[in-house]
Symmetry: C2
Subunit: 136 residues, 2 copies
């Protein structure tokens, strides 16, 4: 099996502090302090639930993919991330199936981990991130 673990779900938001307050106060879910993630041009807060992470993503510049998503669709669920053992092998399998990747080569995310996105047009409307397992 290529993947048997969802690493996280990403949610696009306009104001991470306001949305963190909703999850914390209306739902009673613990939310981390927002932090700046320069590789994606976003501020991120995490809902560290026991079953995995939910990320709240607020764009901090116009180049951010989250900015484009918000302009086109408004706030909402943005992507689902599957952890994979070998990103290059995972990308080859996606292409062999006939699906389209957004990234031709793996790029580097938080902590230097390698990742690539599958195009939602090839994935029945879902933006799918493939994230290589950390080495540590």
């Amino acid at each position: 099996m290529m993947s048997d673990r969802v690493d996280h779900i990403g949610i696009a938001v306009n104001d991470v502090v306001e949305v963190a307050r909703f999850y914390s106060e209306a739902l009673g879910v613990e939310v981390s302090e927002p932090e700046f993630e320069p590789t994606e041009g976003v501020k991120i807060a995490f809902l560290p639930t026991s079953s995995g992470l939910v990320e709240l993503l607020e764009p901090v510049n116009e180049a951010s993919a989250i900015r484009k998503f918000l302009d086109n669709r408004g706030e909402g669920m943005h992507h689902i991330c599957f952890e994979v053992l070998d990103i290059e092998a995972a990308m080859r399998q996606v292409v062999a199936f006939g699906a389209q990747l957004i990234d031709e080569k793996p790029r580097h995310g938080r902590g230097g981990r390698k990742l690539a996105f599958v195009h939602p047009k090839s994935a029945h409307g879902v933006l799918i991130e493939l994230l290589e397992l950390g080495k540590e």
Copy 2:
């Protein structure tokens, strides 16, 4: 804390068999055989990842909420479900915050578990399901 666990993510699809083939063959994720769930008017297949369930939901009748979602938005991520200990207490907390519920009273889902939905307009574009822990 009211909730510290995501129970599942729901994805709305036109054809559960076709989408199951995508997850299975392109991503190498195990997918269960589709089953009929009469309380929601859907066929469901599960991606039983080690970090929690992903549900693929295909409507089987016009009354299904998934049918309306597909007509309005097309295929894509539909909802996120948080497990709660006490559904009535969780619903009171949502209302006390000033957010709007779709269900005035809990309704009964698969296996008789009590659930209620928070309106996406109150939840920054995300349809949130609250699902009471099973008793077994």
